[in-house]
Amino acid sequence: MELGRKVKLMQGNQAIVEGAFYAGARFYAGYPITPSSEIAEESAKRMPLLGGIYMQMEDEIASMAAIIGASLAGAKSFTATSGPGFSLMQENLGLAVMGEVPCVVINVQRSGPSTGLATKPAQSDVMQIRWGRHGDQSVIALCPASVSECFTLTVTAFNFAEKFRVPVILASDEVVGHMRENITIPSPGELAVAERKKPTGEPAAYKPFIADEDGVAPLASYGSDYVFHVSSSMHGPDGYSNNNPANAAWRVAQLHKKIEMHREEIIITKTFDTEDADILFIAFGATTRASRAAALELRKQGIRAGVLQLMTIWPFADKKIASLGERAKTVVVPEMNYSGQVAGEVQRILGAGADIRKVNSYNGEIITPQDILKAIL
C-alpha cells in the first residue's frame, strides 16, 4: 500500500490510524472499546500490509504493557482506548514515564464514571490524563478538534514521544472520533517525522538515562549491541535499581525538566480573532467548533469575540492564556465535564478576580453554540 498525497472522506478515528502510519508506527496492541474500536479495526486490516504487527490483547493493562515492550525493541508503537480502558492503562503509563519509553496512547473520551454512557462524548479525562498515575511526573497530551487535526496531531504525538522519550496521550473524544470530514493526507516528507536519538558510543559505556544537553537521553533498542536495563523501580543513570535519595531527586526532576525545557515547542495553540477580543473562548477538542460558531455569531452582533484553541492540553498553555486573558473582559470555557477541569486551570492563571464563565455539559450531549451564547448574553 502506498502512502501518498490524497484527499479522502474519513472518520476521525481512521485519520488517527493514517497519521500513525504516516509517522512510521508499525506496532499496535489494543483491546476493543467503544468509541475507539475503529482504530483497532483499521490497524488490524492495514498493519499487516505495511509489514507491521497488530496484536489484540486480553485487556488494556496488557495493551499498554505490550506497546512499552515493542517500543523498547525499537518499533514506534501505539494503542487506543476510551475511559475505562484508559483507567486500566494508568499503572503502565507510569512505567513508560519512569522508563522514558516513547509511545502514543489514544484516548477517545466518553462519558463516565465507570462504563457510563459508552457511546456518548465527554472531555472529563483532562485531569486523569495529567494526574491519573501515582507518583510525580509529567506527560504530554494533545487534543484534536477535527478529522484533519486527528491526522496531524497523531503525527505530532509520535514526534514528541520520540524526541522527548515520553508517553504522549492523544485525547480525542467521541464526537471527533466518529465525525467524517474531507482531509488531505500529505505526501511523505511534507510533514516532519522525528526518530528517537540512538546511542553512538561504545556499547559497554552506554547509560540509558544520562541526558544530553536537550534533556533527553539516547535510547538503544533491545536486541541491538547495547545491552541495558529499564526498571520501574527508582534507578540510576545506568538503569539499575538505586535507592539513594540524591539519585531519586535527580531522576524525578529530570522527568519534569525535559518537558519544561521544551515547553514552547510542545504547547501548540490556534487563535481565531483574538487580537481585539473582549470575549475570549478557551476551548479544546469538539467544543472548539461550537465556540467558533458562537464567536462568529457574536461578531455579527458587533461584539468582539475570539477563540483560543488548546491543541496541547498538557503541559498547559499558561503564557498564552495569561496574555490573551489579560486583554479580554470575559473568558468563557466550554467543556464536556461537570467541574470545569480546564476552567480551573484558566482560573489559576488569570486569578480569582477574572470574569471566567464555565459552560459545562455532563449528560452525554455536546455543547452547542446556543448553549455557549446563553452564558454570555
Binding site: 483491546y31 486490516k45 489484540q56 485487556d59 486500566l88 465507570s114 462504563t115
Partner: protein, 316 residues
C-alpha cells in the same frame, strides 16, 4: 455420586414458568445468548443475585429507563464479574453468620461473555474459583466481542473472520485455537464444570440446577449462537447450536469432582465440521485445506476428551 439424584424425572412441564428476564429487551433477532440467559434464570429461580460483566447482555437488558431483570442484578466493570460476585457471596455469608439476615439459600451468580470471561475477566474468575466461593459462574460464549462490533477474542475459533482478525489476502482470519476455559476451570479442582448450549434446553437447565445445589464454586460454559456476528440467518440459532455439538466442535460434557462424563446429547459418530461451517459467513473464505486443518484439530481435541472420560472412569 450424582449431585442431582432424580434428574431422570425432569420434564419440560416442570420448568419454572416464571420469566426472570422479561420480554421487551433489545437483543438482536435470533440471539442465542439471551435465550440461554432466560433458561438459566428459569433454573436458578428467584433467590438469585447476578453480577454481570459489560457485554451484550448488559446493554440489551438494562438500557435506561427500563430493565429486563426480575432478580437483583449488578452490572460491574468489564473485568470483575467474578470478583464482585465473590464479594456479594461473602457479604451475605458474613451477615448470615452474625444473624443479621435470615439463613436463606441465595445463589450468587457471575456471568460474562467470552471476552469478559476468557480475556479480561480470567484473572478475577480464577481468583474466585480458587477461593472456593459458593457461586456459579456462567460464560455465555458467542465467540467474539459482539457488543463493540465483532472483534476477536480468545474464544474466537480458528479460521473465523472478525473485524480485528479479518480474512483477506494475508490472513485466514483467526489464526489461533479457541481457549478452553472449561478445562482451565477443571484445573482449579472445583466440584462442578459443565459445557452447555441452549439448543439443548433441558440439558442446560439440568446443569444449572446441579450447579445451583452445589455448596461451592461451579462453572458452566454455554455456547451461544450469534447470527449478527457469525453472519448467519437468525432462524438458524437452534440448528447451528445443534450442529456445533453434532460436529464435535463444541462437545457437551460435565466434570463432577474431577470425573468427566459426556452428556447424553453427544452423538456416537460426529458429523464433518464443514456441515457446521457451511451457512456461516464468518467461515466463507476458508479453503478446503484450511477446513481440513481445523477438522484435524477438532478430531484431536475430541479424542482427548474421550480419553479423559475413559481413563477417569477407571480411576473412580
Amino acid at each position: 455420586m450424582n449431585i442431582v439424584e432424580n434428574f431422570d424425572l425432569f420434564a419440560p412441564r416442570l420448568i419454572n414458568k416464571k420469566e426472570l428476564i422479561s420480554a421487551g429487551h433489545r437483543a438482536c433477532q435470533g440471539c442465542g445468548e439471551v435465550l440461554a440467559v432466560r433458561l438459566m434464570c428459569k433454573a436458578l429461580g428467584e433467590n438469585t443475585v447476578i453480577a454481570s460483566a459489560t457485554g451484550c447482555m448488559e446493554i440489551i437488558s438494562s438500557m435506561y429507563p427500563t430493565t429486563a431483570w426480575e432478580v437483583p442484578w449488578i452490572h460491574v466493570a468489564f473485568e470483575n464479574a467474578a470478583a464482585v460476585a465473590s464479594g456479594v457471596e461473602s457479604g451475605l455469608k458474613s451477615l448470615r453468620r452474625k444473624g443479621k439476615i435470615a439463613d436463606s439459600d441465595v445463589k450468587v451468580v457471575g456471568m460474562a461473555g467470552d471476552g469478559g470471561t476468557m480475556d479480561i475477566g480470567l484473572q478475577a474468575l480464577s481468583g474466585a474459583m480458587e477461593r472456593g466461593h459458593d457461586m456459579l459462574f456462567v460464560c455465555f460464549d458467542n465467540e467474539a466481542y459482539m457488543n463493540t462490533g465483532i472483534q476477536r477474542s480468545s474464544g474466537t475459533p480458528m479460521g473465523a473472520s472478525t473485524t480485528t482478525a479479518p480474512a483477506g489476502k494475508v490472513s485466514m482470519g483467526q489464526k489461533t485455537w479457541k481457549k478452553n476455559v472449561a478445562e482451565i476451570m477443571v484445573a482449579h479442582n472445583i466440584p462442578y464444570v459443565a459445557t452447555a448450549c441452549p439448543s439443548y434446553p433441558l440439558d442446560f437447565i439440568n446443569k444449572v440446577e446441579k450447579a445451583k445445589k452445589i455448596k461451592g464454586p461451579s462453572y458452566i460454559h454455554c455456547f451461544t449462537v450469534c447470527p449478527t456476528g457469525w453472519r448467519c440467518g437468525s432462524d438458524q440459532t437452534i440448528s447451528l447450536g445443534r450442529l456445533a455439538i453434532e460436529t464435535g466442535i463444541f462437545p457437551l460434557y460435565e466434570v463432577e469432582n474431577g470425573r468427566y462424563k459426556l452428556s447424553a446429547e453427544m452423538p456416537k459418530k460426529l458429523r464433518p465440521i464443514k456441515d457446521y461451517f457451511k451457512s456461516q459467513g464468518r467461515y466463507r473464505h476458508l479453503t478446503e485445506d484450511q477446513v481440513k486443518m481445523i477438522q484435524d484439530g477438532v478430531n484431536r481435541e475430541y479424542k482427548k476428551l474421550l480419553n479423559k472420560v475413559k481413563c477417569l472412569e477407571a480411576w473412580t
